[in-house]
Symmetry: D2
Amino acid sequence: MTELLSESHADMVAEYADVLQIGTRNAQNFQLLIAAAKTGKPVLLKRGLSMKIEEWLLAGEYILAHENPNLMLCERGIRTFETYTRNTLDLTAVPIVKQESHVPVVVDPSQGVGRADLVFAVCKGAVAMGADALLIEVHPNPSKAWSDGAQQLTLDGFSRLMTELKPFIHAAGRE
Amino acid sequence: MTELLSESHADMVAEYADVLQIGTRNAQNFQLLIAAAKTGKPVLLKRGLSMKIEEWLLAGEYILAHENPNLMLCERGIRTFETYTRNTLDLTAVPIVKQESHVPVVVDPSQGVGRADLVFAVCKGAVAMGADALLIEVHPNPSKAWSDGAQQLTLDGFSRLMTELKPFIHAAGRE
Amino acid sequence: MTELLSESHADMVAEYADVLQIGTRNAQNFQLLIAAAKTGKPVLLKRGLSMKIEEWLLAGEYILAHENPNLMLCERGIRTFETYTRNTLDLTAVPIVKQESHVPVVVDPSQGVGRADLVFAVCKGAVAMGADALLIEVHPNPSKAWSDGAQQLTLDGFSRLMTELKPFIHAAGRE
Amino acid sequence: MTELLSESHADMVAEYADVLQIGTRNAQNFQLLIAAAKTGKPVLLKRGLSMKIEEWLLAGEYILAHENPNLMLCERGIRTFETYTRNTLDLTAVPIVKQESHVPVVVDPSQGVGRADLVFAVCKGAVAMGADALLIEVHPNPSKAWSDGAQQLTLDGFSRLMTELKPFIHAAGRE
């Protein structure tokens, strides 16, 4: 998945990518939302940095209204005064979006907290609260990553996470 | 538990209550923190409305430094721009406080989201993320409650919640 | 001025408009910033709803770096917990941007506070703090406006404002 | 002026101080507000870090309702995501409080921005927007101050500020 930045890019990205991701800073770039919808590819719409849940759902309507039913909404943290984490992950948004809408809800703990050591706990919470998918950053060598290394799991870490998550997935009644 | 408002009240409340709760608006009322510590009773310190995690931990030190080791820190939501919920519950604070400190972490979903229909999902998330206890508002008839009725569970609802929580408690390796 | 939404629109708008305005929700739509810069027209860049001043200055660099020196930065309020006003106008941003940069600073009290009755006081404050220009919404009949009527001045109100502003403009050493 | 922290301190402070100041972290310590009111001394109530204007006005009622009419409300910045300044000074609160209430409004630029270099501009803005008084930190040698040195003016700086402020005071029709 790649962050789209303009209409003319949407078609090109759609040729190669399975899912088009709209980044947090373009979550209300409505021309881009329409262009992404028209490619027919699934669209993952990240919540804007200071977007109310209502505004996020309405931005999603730009996808649905352009005849693309394959919308996913992705909680990735909102901007608050707290500086311990990169953003403040609003996990309560998960059950709210499930209640207000029929679209799948994805949680991005990596961007949400910005620290690999917290990703495990956040993934468990997201699953328990009803998330349909997780977007987890993994890198064979995070310390060499070109960006966002501090929030990336190693391959081993990812494998361990999958094992630790299983009981919570079962508890949530998912398979 | 009752919200304490001044030094002279701490001793009186301690006569009758098992735990002294310091409310969010007094979380940095340092004289009160000291007075509560000195009663020798367990103290539950709510996070202030716009308190950074670091400030919350430091406020807790006022209890510990006055020879009262029975401190609990309670996440109850911070104030953000989002208006769908009463506050924005910062569940990531749970693993952070567990990591930075040895004190038990309590989550208050009722105040955090302000809506009974979201309490179930939030309790599951809190347990999955490592919370040591939950502070849940229950009322035999929430529509007749003197305050905060919208966020209170009925007795039946509470009983159902306990049943639904069990698999998550097991998944988290707690009993 | 019209809010631009995609690259292909920039040229068309530039044919008719004297200034291209980048709206708050597209303040980090970098492809649009580049497209706007390339038209050669002056660009007014609104601060994003939750943009730090540093990010705003850096977004402005997209204009300057594409050989368009005619950049203006416009403070229009950030998103906070306060609900009395539509946004929280961060007037301190005016002297900060003047200090960190050489570009003119514009203040938009209409969007910033969302209420016509507060526009007078805010304009005076903005001028006193060094604003180079004001962006004020005026409508012959605000109650009939298609949008944002609550924050618009009447023609009479605008004329009165200009009279009341004069002493502050003089006090600020401007003409 | 000294920040009061408990009821028993109010009377002692009132013996020596001309004005009792309630600090931002105790702005909703209602027992303290009542104790301060009862001393009969003027009370300066700082706005809480994340207090809505409505809550601030209501906290002020605790003073007025206890037969102390000498209340001043002091805007000192709210907590937001912006980190360039120590807090985000909400100068729009000045005309709002003037409109909603009859009490004098004080602005504290020193705490609001936390940087001496911005105090000049903020004082001018505050005066232009209708502030009745300014609370400015001054120190003969800020670099040796026990706390908050970064936001303190020197004696010379203060004297220069008074000169620069005069035209704005005149423009605002005050003497």
